[in-house]
């Protein structure tokens, strides 16, 4: 999966898993903050997203402060996944 494909897949996951009805995945910007002011997501969403990523993309997101950085934006998540997959 190319980086762009991975980011698109993450956006799809965010919209479906977090039930963001009516939101076009493509409208989520790569660098926009996901939590707080950005997309308006919160800690419960982060947990759901981490579970879905682990299940569907087979990468375990660390818990706690590390997760906060990884979940900064779609690009940050994609970069983390790429790093882990590159091993």
């Amino acid at each position: 999966m190319s980086p762009a494909q991975l980011r698109a897949e993450l956006k799809r996951l965010i919209v479906t898993e977090l039930n963001l009805k009516g939101r076009d995945p493509a409208s989520i910007e790569d660098d926009a903050p996901l939590f707080g002011t950005g997309l308006g997501l919160d800690s419960l969403d982060a947990l759901q997203l981490a579970m879905s990523i682990e299940e569907q993309l087979h990468v375990r997101i660390p818990e706690g402060e590390e997760a906060r950085v990884i979940f900064g934006s779609v690009r940050a998540i994609a970069d983390y996944l790429a790093r882990v997959q590159a091993g």
């Binding site: 898993e17 977090l18 039930n19 963001l20 009805k21 009516g22 939101r23 308006g40 919160d42 800690s43 419960l44 969403d45 947990l47 759901q48 579970m51 682990e54 299940e55 818990e63």
Partner: protein, 724 residues
Amino acid sequence: MSTRLWVTGLGLVTPLGVGVEATWGRLVRGDRAIRPIQLFDVAGQRVGVAGEVDGVEVPASGWSRTSAMAATAAEEAMRAAGIDVARARVGLVVGGTTGGMFETEQLLARLHAEPECREVLVGMLSHPLTSTGDRLDERLGPFARLRTLSSACSSGANALVVAAGWLLAGEVDAVVAGGSDGLCRLTLSGFNALGALDAEPCRPFDRRRRGTSLGEGAGFLVLERAESARARGVVPIAELAGWALGSEAHHITNPAPDGKVVASLIARAVARAGLSPRDVDYVNAHGTGTPLNEPMEALALAGALGEELARIPVSSSKAQLGHSLGAAGAIEAAITALVVSRRTLVPTAGLEEPDPALGLVHVPQVGRPASRVRAAVSNAFGFGGMDTVLVFADPDRDTEPQRGAMATSLVVTGASVFGSCGLLGTEECGSLVDRHHDPGATVDPDAHLDGMRARRLDRAARLGAVAVERALSDSGGADAPTGLVLASAFGNVDGSAAFMHRIFDKGARSASPAEFPNLVPSSPVGHVSIYLGLCGPAFATADLATSGESAFMQALQLVATGEASRVVAGAVEPRSDIVERVLAALFAHATSQKGTQRSDVAAAVVVETEAEARRRGARIVAHVRQALEWRGRGLPVTDLATPREGRAEVILARADGGAGPLLARTPWSSCPQLVCAQAVGESDGLGAVALAVAAGRIASGRTDQALVLGLARGRGYAVVLGRE
């Protein structure tokens, strides 16, 4: 009538021991019961330690561990108080969350493999939340009144609030009230999914705290009016002096960090006790040990108790017992009553490095005697932000509780039904029974909701939000202090099954954190209170096919006792594939099966005091002339009010509910009967529909008065609404 309420009996089943003395001794010593779970396999779980009660004997089929623990605790409390159900009117209030989920999980595992197995299907609905009250009624009753409620982790505390209301209204002579909850895979998996559990036994108030520990158990208290207890020559343990409950309307799992709602509840509970912060000598905190709870609770305590907090010891029993969810509020209430009675503070075990940011005075490691405990506060906070504060006091105190007069004139100011009939407002509810609505019609709550704000709401919560919003809109709009009581007979059966099936298939790490909060019986109440911003008292009730009626009775009580000026009562029952399959299995060979199709339904009725409605300038739709509930033998028909002059109707949830013979003995026997099931399909929420229909028929001028009669196995409700 005296408004002093005494605690005259206690019963405890906890991971530290069975019985009050077994628990108390170890509690004061600082023993901790949190250890690896043995009850079920915890392979794949992030955290597998909890407080477990050893040696729970489940007496027979139809019993769950939750019910067995409840029976042991309730029996101990009744024995200690010396109350006799044959000689006094005794009520029972049971708070809980998981009911018989542990037993149901075993069936779910089998159902997963054999979807059509009749034996498994029939067992699936054997352990609803109400089953604990029913088993206790058989074992320890008959009780004159019975209420089952859930507000997640404040359920046990709210049971005491309901009991206090019954006693203040003079409905009963004594109440056995408390909570019970057994450990189960679903709860463990869910709390693990939320990352809410500490791998070590939890460390409330410690700077290293990383989460809570689960527990299980049961706590029951006997409450009586002081004068009747005194007449029996009973020595009180403590006085239940004050209480307050309300909702944060903030988030389904996280507490509102400012602690303002909790602070106002603590202040209100202390004031209603007739006390001030100067009289408070101890706080038994909710103290879960999660990073978010303690800062919020410390802020709330500081906000309510001010500089007095600097001398008031605060501790959490969860470090020793774990968090027993629906039981915790009652177990900790019993502990707080004992602290007052025995002038001995219980500790926060394992507290080695108190978090300095909290600014609290602690009782680290072991308990200690106190020179005096004049009054003590017990906090309980539930998922969805449903918070309850109790205040216990020395029964020999020379102050009196501050309680307003009971409101006697209650009115309905709005009603709504949402289901296969579409979304009906107050007047339209009156025409609901005039025609048949296809029970299979699509019901689309999303057309009425803000998609982004409603994204966490499951189907039940969505249906409920639409009906409650409409009823409130007809009533003149929502305002913050409004309360909410929503009923459901079986809770989220399909959601629980789907959640467990994922775990069976993919392991515990696949448990959905977002889905878990929707499996709690009070989830629709929490979601709707958050969606609509309702900050009044909120919890769920359950009473099988008369669940809707139980919510209405509960709302009346909350309004009459001044807990809230306005409360929305209703029922939410989405169609359930599993419930339908169970009913099909049960009635496969029965000729009495009416074949009425089940349908999605939510119904809501707004109740308030007449004075509040007049103050707001709201339109009074109907007056509540009479509201009766009973258990066992049946309605004492002589108690039922006679219809006044004018048109009168009887509104029934369903045709085959056994109302005929009962009605025949009442002055309502010749009135026209209207049946809701024939109009909108079968559902366990039909009682709430019937109440909305009655209000709507009066509002639209179709009748002058209506009797709503709701009957189910061993229980009944009668409500008379009238134009005046």
